[in-house]
Amino acid sequence: MSRFVLSRLPIWLTGAVLGLLSQAAWIQAANAKEWDLGRGEIILRLSLGLLGGALVFWLLCEALFRGARALGLDPWPRLQTLGRFLTSTAWELAGLGRASGRRAWLKGLALVLAMGLGLGWWFGWRPAQGCAAVRDYFLAHQDEPSQGLRACLYPNVDAADPCQDLGLTPGFDFPDLASLPGGRQRYFLLTWTGLIQVEESGVYGIGGLVDDGLEVIIDGQVVARDMRESPPREIWGKLRLDQGWHAIELHYLQLAGGATLKLWWQPPKQDRLPLGQAHLRPLKPGVSLAPVIRLRLEHGLHPRQGSTYDPFEGGRFWSLPW
C-alpha cells in the first residue's frame, strides 16, 4: 500500500468517526426537540457525516501539517507507522492470509447470499407476484369506457352482507354525512373499486381528510390505513408505482358521529391534487372480489396484526394467556 494512503489512513478513520458522531449527536438533539426526522434523512446524515468528516478532517490536517512542516515538524512518518499498524491489524483480523480464514469468508458469504435470496423471495418476489396478479384481475374486469370508481355500500361494518351498488362516483369530496352516497347514518362501510392510471413511474402519495376510518389498497397492498373512530384527521400513505394502470380499493368506515371524506393524491414532484375521475376507471358491475381476497392472503399482502404493545406505556390491553 502506498505511503500516501498509509499515512492518511488514520486521519480518514478519525475524521469519519468524528463526522459520524457529530451527526449522531445532531440526530439525538433533533429527537429530543421532537423534530420530525425521516428515516431517509437520518441515513443520509449518517452517510454524509462519515464521508464529510473524513474529507474535512483530512483537509484540516493537511493544512495543519503543512504549517507544522514550516516550523520544522513532520508528523507524516509517525502517521505512516500508525497506518501500517492499522492495516496489518485489519489483515490479521480478516484472516485472509490463512486458508482457514479464506474458507470462513467463503462460507459466510454463501450463507449470507442464501439467506438474502430466501428473504428476498419471501418479502420481495412473492408479494410482487401477488400485486401483479391482483392488477391483472382488475384489468381483466375493468369497465373500459367509463371513468371514476364504482361505489358499493355495506350496511354493516363487517362487510359480510351483499353490498349495494351505488354506481360511479365522480369525485371524492364529502364534507359531511349527508353528502356521502348511500344515505346511512352510522355503522356502515363504503368501498370504491377500480383502476388508477399512473403516467410516470415514481413515488405517489394518496390519502385525505377522514372521519372515521379509511383504508387505501393499491395492487392489493395497504398504502394507508386507520380505521379508528375519530374526528377528521389526515390519513396518508406513499407507494412506488410504475407507469400504467393499477388496481385501487378505497374502504371508508363510518361508525358514529360526524362523517367526512376528502381524498387527494400526489404524483412525483407535484403538489397534492384532488382525486378526480380523470385517472380512474371502474370495474364492471357485480364483479366478485373473492379471488382478490384469496390472492392477497396467498401472497402475504394482507397485513398481519399481532398482540404487540409496549408494557411500559400502560394503557389498555388485555393480558396474554397467563
Binding site: 449522531a24 429530543a32 362487510a159 359480510a160 376510518g213 366478485s288 381476497i293 397467563w322
Partner: protein, 738 residues
C-alpha cells in the same frame, strides 16, 4: 477419502434421523389436532345449531364462566346497560364446523378489542390487545368433516363488535358462517380441557422443526465424529462428573424451589409476545433484552409459561457456560486448573442460587462471558476470532448494559498486567470492533427513541453505597442473602467461612504473583478484575441488583480456583494431598450449606420470603423477591382479577400470573392498565408501595377498597385492598345472555 471428510454412511444417519424426527413430530401434531376435533365431537350437542358461549365477568377469562348456546356471532351495536356502569368482558365461542367440500377456505373475524381464533387447536388469528374493530382473514386448507372453531374475544365498554365469517372455495363473497354449519359443544364441557388440548397442538407443531434441529445438533456434536466423542468421554470424564453435579444442584426440585422474581417473569412474558409476533424492540426497555427472551421462546412453545421452564432454561445455560469455562481454562492453564474452576463454579452456593434466579443476565451472562473468553483464547492462533468474541460480549452488553463490567474489569486488569502493551495486539482491536458492531443496533435504537429509557445508570454519588454493596457481596458468597430471602431461614450459619476463603485465596494469589513465574498473569487477572468490579458496582446500580453479584461471584470463584490450583501445583510430593483436602472440605461446606439452608429449608417452609433489613434490598427492586406465597394466598381468596402496584418494573403482576402456571385462577394486572373489574389490589408494604395505594385509590374514586389482612407473614411484605363496592356483574346487554 480426504482427511476430516464425513463418510457417506454418517450423512445417511443424519438424513435418516432427520426424517424420523420430522415424521414423528408431524404424526404427533396431526394426532394433537385430531384430539381437539375428537373432544369437540364427544362434547357436541348433535341436535342443536350454533355455538357454545362461555361468558366471563372480566376481560381476562378468569373466574367462573356462564355457559349458554347462541347462533354464530354477528353483533355491531352500542352497549346498552340502561344506566348501569359498563365493564369490559370476555367471551369464548366454541362450535364444531361441518365442512362438506374440501379446499381452500377463507376464515374471517371482525372484532374490536382482543380476539383469538383457533381451528382444530391451531392459532389462526391472534390479536390480544385493545383497539377499534378490525377485520382479520386467514386462508386455510380444510378437509371434509368436522373442525373445531374456538373464538376467544374481549369486548370494551362502548360497543359490541363481533362477527365470524367464511369464504368457501366456490364462494363469491365473505359471509357470516351459517348457524346450521355449526354444532355447539355441551355447556358442561370444560374450557381448561380444551386449553390443554390446544396447547398440545402448539407443542407438536413447534417440534416439527425443533426436533429435526435437535437431531442435527446431536449429530454434529456427537455422532459425526464418534471416535472423537469417545476420546473426549474417556479423557474428560471428571469434568462430566462435575457437570453432572452442577446440573443436579441447578435442576434438583426444579418445580418446587422458587426464585422466580417478577423481573424473571418479564422474560417469559416477553417471549410470549415474541411468539405472537413482537419485533425485537417491541415491548422492552432500551437497556434490556431481547436475546434471553428469544431463547425462552423455544421452551415456552414446548412447555408453556411455567416457572420451572425459566429455572431449567437458566440452569442449562449455566451448564453450557461451564463447558466453555472448561475449554478456555484447559487451553490457557491446563485441564486440572479447568477442572478445579468448574468444580468451584458448580458448587459455590452463590453461583448455584443465581443460576436459579433466571434473569437475562444470570442465565445468558455467564455463557456469553465464558464463550467470549474461549473465542478470545482461540484468537491467539486465529486473530479473526477476536472479532467473534467481541461480538458475543457486545451482545452481552446489548442484552443488558451491566455486562459491560466484565470487559471493563478484565480490560483494566489486562492493561495493568500487560503495562499497556496489550493495546498493540490485533486481538484487542478485534474485540473492540466486535463489541461496537454488536452494540450498534442498541445505540441506534437508544438514539432514535431516547424517551424509552430516561433512567440514568451512572451516578458517582452512589459510591456512598459501597459499604452496603460489600456487605451484600460478603453475605452473598455463602448464599446467606438468598437463603434468607427465599427460604426465610438460616438453619446453618456459615459465619462467612466461604467468604473468608476468598480473602485467603486472594492473599495466596498475591504471594504467587510476586514470584513472577510466567503464570502470574493468570493469578492477577481475576483478582484485579474482582477488585475493580466491587469498586465500580455501586456507581452503576441504584439497587443491589443480582446481576452485579453474579459477576462478582464468577470472579470470586476464579480467584478461589486459581489459589487451590496454585497450592496444589506448588506442593511437593505427598503434600499435594493437603490442598486437595482443603478443596474437598470447601466443596463439603458449600454442599452442606446448600443442602440444609436452601433445599431442606425450602421444602420445610415452602419458600417463605423474609424482609431483609437493608434499603438496598427491600422493596426498591423486586428482583430478589419470591412471590409464590402471595400468589397462593390470592388464589385461595378466589378473586378473578387483582391489580398490583410495584415500584418501577411493573412486574409483580407478571410474577403472580406466572406462579399460577398455564391454568390461571386469577389475573394480576398492572394498575396502569386496570379494567375496573379488579376485586382486589396488592402493593408492597413500603413507602413506595403506599404511594401506589394512593394513586390506585385516586384513580378508582367510584370504587370502595378496604384493607384486609393476608396473615402476619405476608402483611410484613404486602398490602392487600379488597373491593367492596360496586359489584362487578356479568354483562347483561348482549341479547339473550341473562
Amino acid at each position: 477419502m480426504k482427511a476430516g471428510a464425513v463418510p457417506t454412511r454418517k450423512w445417511l444417519v443424519l438424513l435418516a434421523g432427520l426424517l424420523v424426527c420430522l415424521g414423528f413430530a408431524l404424526w404427533r401434531a396431526g394426532e394433537a389436532g385430531q384430539a381437539v376435533v375428537d373432544y369437540g365431537r364427544q362434547q357436541a350437542l348433535a341436535d342443536q345449531q350454533g355455538m357454545l358461549v362461555w361468558l366471563y365477568d372480566n376481560p381476562f377469562q378468569t373466574g367462573p364462566a356462564r355457559a349458554s348456546i347462541h347462533p354464530v356471532p354477528r353483533l355491531h351495536q352500542d352497549r346498552d346497560l340502561k344506566g348501569r356502569r359498563a365493564y369490559p368482558f370476555a367471551w369464548r365461542w366454541v362450535g364444531l364446523l361441518r365442512v362438506d367440500q374440501p379446499g381452500q377456505y377463507v376464515l374471517g373475524v371482525y372484532a374490536s378489542e382482543a380476539v383469538r381464533l383457533r381451528l382444530d387447536g391451531r392459532r389462526l388469528v391472534e390479536r390480544w390487545v385493545g383497539g377499534p374493530p378490525r377485520p382479520h382473514q386467514v386462508l386455510v386448507s380444510l378437509e371434509a368433516g368436522p373442525h373445531l372453531l374456538d373464538l376467544a374475544d374481549v369486548q370494551g365498554v362502548d360497543s359490541l363488535d363481533l362477527s365470524l365469517q367464511w369464504l368457501p372455495p366456490d364462494g363469491q363473497a365473505l359471509t357470516t358462517i351459517p348457524s346450521d354449519r355449526l354444532t355447539p359443544l355441551d355447556p358442561k364441557s370444560d374450557p381448561a380441557v380444551l386449553d390443554e388440548l390446544n396447547f398440545l397442538v402448539q407443542r407438536w407443531r413447534t417440534l416439527i422443526w425443533l426436533l429435526p434441529l435437535a437431531w442435527l445438533g446431536l449429530w454434529w456434536l456427537v455422532l459425526r465424529d464418534w471416535p472423537r466423542t469417545r476420546r473426549i468421554l474417556r479423557r474428560d470424564w471428571p469434568f462430566l462428573l462435575v457437570l453432572g453435579l452442577a446440573g443436579v444442584l441447578r435442576l434438583l426440585w426444579g418445580a418446587t424451589v422458587p426464585g422466580i422474581s417478577g423481573e424473571s417473569a418479564f422474560y417469559i412474558w416477553r417471549s410470549e409476545l415474541i411468539i405472537e409476533g413482537a419485533r425485537p424492540f417491541q415491548g422492552m426497555i432500551t437497556r434490556n433484552g431481547p436475546f434471553f427472551e428469544y431463547l425462552m421462546v423455544l421452551p415456552t412453545l414446548i412447555w408453556g409459561a411455567v416457572p420451572w421452564v425459566l429455572s431449567a432454561s437458566a440452569a442449562v445455560l449455566n451448564l453450557l457456560a461451564l463447558v466453555f469455562c472448561y475449554r478456555v481454562l484447559g487451553r490457557e492453564a491446563g485441564r486440572t486448573q479447568a477442572l478445579i474452576a468448574c468444580l468451584v463454579l458448580a458448587v459455590f452456593p452463590a453461583e448455584v442460587m443465581f443460576a436459579r434466579i433466571p434473569l437475562d443476565y444470570t442465565s445468558l451472562g455467564p455463557l456469553l462471558f465464558f464463550w467470549g473468553l474461549d473465542l478470545l483464547s482461540r484468537s491467539r492462533s486465529h486473530p479473526g476470532l477476536a472479532v467473534a468474541a467481541g461480538l458475543l460480549w457486545g451482545v452481552g452488553i446489548f442484552n443488558h448494559s451491566i455486562f459491560v463490567v466484565f470487559p471493563a474489569c478484565l480490560g483494566l486488569a489486562a492493561l495493568l498486567i500487560g503495562r499497556l502493551k496489550v493495546i498493540l495486539a490485533p486481538q484487542t482491536w478485534g474485540l473492540g470492533l466486535g463489541m461496537v458492531l454488536a452494540m450498534l443496533p442498541r445505540g441506534v435504537n437508544r438514539m432514535l427513541l431516547p424517551d424509552q429509557d430516561p433512567m440514568s445508570f451512572m451516578d458517582p454519588a452512589r459510591f456512598l453505597d459501597l459499604p452496603g454493596f460489600l456487605e451484600i457481596f460478603w453475605r452473598m458468597l455463602d448464599g446467606e442473602v438468598v437463603y434468607r430471602l427465599y427460604t426465610g431461614q438460616l438453619l446453618l450459619d456459615g459465619h462467612g467461612v466461604l467468604a473468608w476463603a476468598v480473602v485467603a485465596a486472594a492473599v495466596v494469589l498475591v504471594i504467587f504473583a510476586w514470584r513472577r513465574d510466567g503464570q502470574a498473569w493468570l493469578d492477577l487477572t481475576p483478582l484485579i478484575a474482582l477488585g475493580v468490579h466491587l469498586l465500580i458496582a455501586p456507581i452503576g446500580a441504584p439497587t443491589a441488583n443480582p446481576r452485579y453479584f453474579i459477576n462478582a461471584g464468577i470472579l470470586a470463584s476464579l480467584v478461589l480456583a486459581r489459589a487451590f490450583f496454585r497450592l496444589w501445583r506448588s506442593a511437593p510430593g505427598r503434600w499435594k494431598l493437603l490442598p486437595a483436602l482443603v478443596l474437598l472440605a470447601w466443596v463439603g461446606v458449600s454442599l452442606t450449606g446448600l443442602g440444609v439452608n436452601y433445599f431442606y429449608c425450602h421444602l420445610t417452609s415452602g419458600g417463605r420470603p423474609q424482609v431483609w433489613e437493608s434499603p438496598l434490598l427491600d422493596h426498591v427492586s423486586d428482583a430478589w423477591m419470591n412471590h409464590a406465597e402471595l400468589a397462593e394466598a390470592l388464589k385461595q381468596r378466589g378473586y378473578p382479577v387483582v391489580a398490583t402496584g410495584d415500584y418501577w418494573h411493573h412486574t409483580l403482576n407478571l410474577a403472580l400470573n406466572l406462579y399460577q402456571g398455564r391454568e390461571r385462577v386469577f389475573q394480576a394486572t398492572d394498575i396502569a392498565s386496570r379494567s375496573n373489574t379488579e376485586r382486589a389490589a396488592v402493593f408492597y408494604n413500603s413507602p413506595e408501595g403506599r404511594e401506589r395505594v394512593d394513586t390506585f385509590l385516586a384513580g378508582n374514586a367510584e370504587e370502595i377498597y378496604l384493607p384486609v389482612s393476608l396473615g402476619p407473614e405476608l402483611d410484613r411484605k404486602y398490602l392487600l385492598f379488597e373491593r367492596t363496592w360496586p359489584p362487578v356483574d356479568y354483562p347483561s346487554d348482549p341479547e339473550g345472555f341473562r
